[in-house]
Symmetry: C2
Subunit: 222 residues, 2 copies
């Protein structure tokens, strides 16, 4: 269970000050399948980045189970992230000099708890599942938008995380690929208790949500 | 009127060869409001890049009116592009060191046929229309995904082009912003005879199409 308590995020100051999130309180149960929707600029990505321990909030606390996280201790953050959190970025963030296979392998490189054969199998399996079997040697600039998105999805799942934070994961996908991705995620949610938190405008995703959050101007709508 | 005749686009060779477009024939009337849909990887962006004279096809001809374009003459291409074509890229392609206002101004910088005041007015007007009035001084990394997308849209329209090629222009937008963008484009289409060609998965856009093209594996489905 993850809990956000009085989370505030402010960017800039003076005239350029933006209150991206205002006093957010949210509980995220294990096995969540939760969507965060809301207008462009309402704070969805910011909330995901905070849940993913990528951005330190301006104020407020984050709890994992009963344990309050010491947010200043970013080394601890990065260990926790590596083993527990899979993140699909809104802009994919693939490494341009690595091909699809290498991009998906990346989170496993520093994992010593998984043997090499297991790593290779997982990478191959996921790229097959997202329909990129014929594209594994291609670099990002040789891939279509939706193919890049699917590499980003495979990369987020390869570490078998306990929480996946997915920022608009179907924005560049046609219906068939979207349904397939949502399928994969629902199976992981049901069978492996992986929590999924989506930022999404996509009704095809919201349709499957067990829990729906609406954001507007940095606040959760009741 | 723009016409693609026997257009073929092949990337790579040998094992890595991809036939992205195969023998495409397509006529695009003035005042088009045309959508190109199809699975991820089916060739939509490639087709837009060729229509936008950004990518030289492997084979085939492009006609503007009756005039067959000499595709090797890329200087001629870039002049024509500057004055006639507005392009919204799937990955936005904003200049990171410029703020929103400067990014939208960019296509007008080398236009000597428009006076400075007119340029400034157009930029301000468009950023207002796409709902970014309060964000004009922000750089891309300070903008949300959908805000970046709206800057890219404003930039494509600021030169008053005769053809706008829009690659997934609503992928990162919520319904309200999408409807607004589609509105702006329909007005330009009706009142100013601007042709719009969309690559899109978004039913909200396809709904308004006057002409619909389906791509599959680089070919147009009849
Ligand atoms: N520079 C390149 N080198 C090699 N292959 C490429 C290159 N660019 C595109 N491709 C391939 O060409 C095919 C068509 O790509 P394109 O980007 O046109 O698809 P798309 O329909 O826009 O897909 P999406 O909906 O995912 O954006 C894809 O299989 C892609 O991998
Ligand atoms: N680094 C930053 N500096 C300044 N302002 C920022 C920064 N990052 C985000 N913002 C602002 O904070 C607000 C929330 O941004 P966020 O990316 O969370 O929105 P979003 O809901 O994900 O939007 P979208 O649906 O367009 O992706 C926006 O108004 C944005 O301009
Ligand atoms: Mg976002
Ligand atoms: Mg594309």
């Amino acid at each position: 269970v993850m809990r956000l308590e009085n989370i505030t995020m402010t960017y800039g100051e003076g005239n350029s000050r933006v209150d991206a999130l205002k006093n957010i309180n949210l509980e995220i149960p294990n096995k969540s399948f939760l969507t965060i929707s809301g207008p462009s600029g309402s704070g969805k990505s910011t909330m995901l980045n905070i849940l993913g321990l990528l951005t330190k909030p301006t104020a407020g606390s984050i709890y994992l189970g009963d344990k309050k996280l010491v947010l200043d201790d970013f080394d601890k953050m990065s260990d926790y992230r590596l083993f527990n959190i899979g993140f699909i970025f809104q802009s994919f963030n693939l490494v341009p000099v690595l091909n699809a296979k290498e991009n998906v392998m990346l989170p496993l490189m520093i994992r010593q708890d998984i043997d090499e054969k297991e790593k290779a199998d997982r990478v191959e399996m996921l790229l097959l599942e997202v329909g990129l079997k014929d594209h594994i040697l291609k670099k990002p600039d040789e891939l279509s938008g939706g193919q890049k998105q699917r590499v980003a999805i495979a990369r987020a799942l390869v570490g078998k995380p306990t929480i996946v934070l997915a920022d608009e994961p179907t924005a560049n996908l046609d219906s068939e690929n979207s349904e397939n991705i949502i399928d994969i995620m629902q199976k992981m949610n049901r069978d492996h208790k992986v929590a999924f938190i989506f930022s999404t405008h996509d009704p095809r995703v919201v349709k499957h949500a067990l829990q729906k959050v609406e954001l507007k101007d940095g606040e959760i709508l009741k």
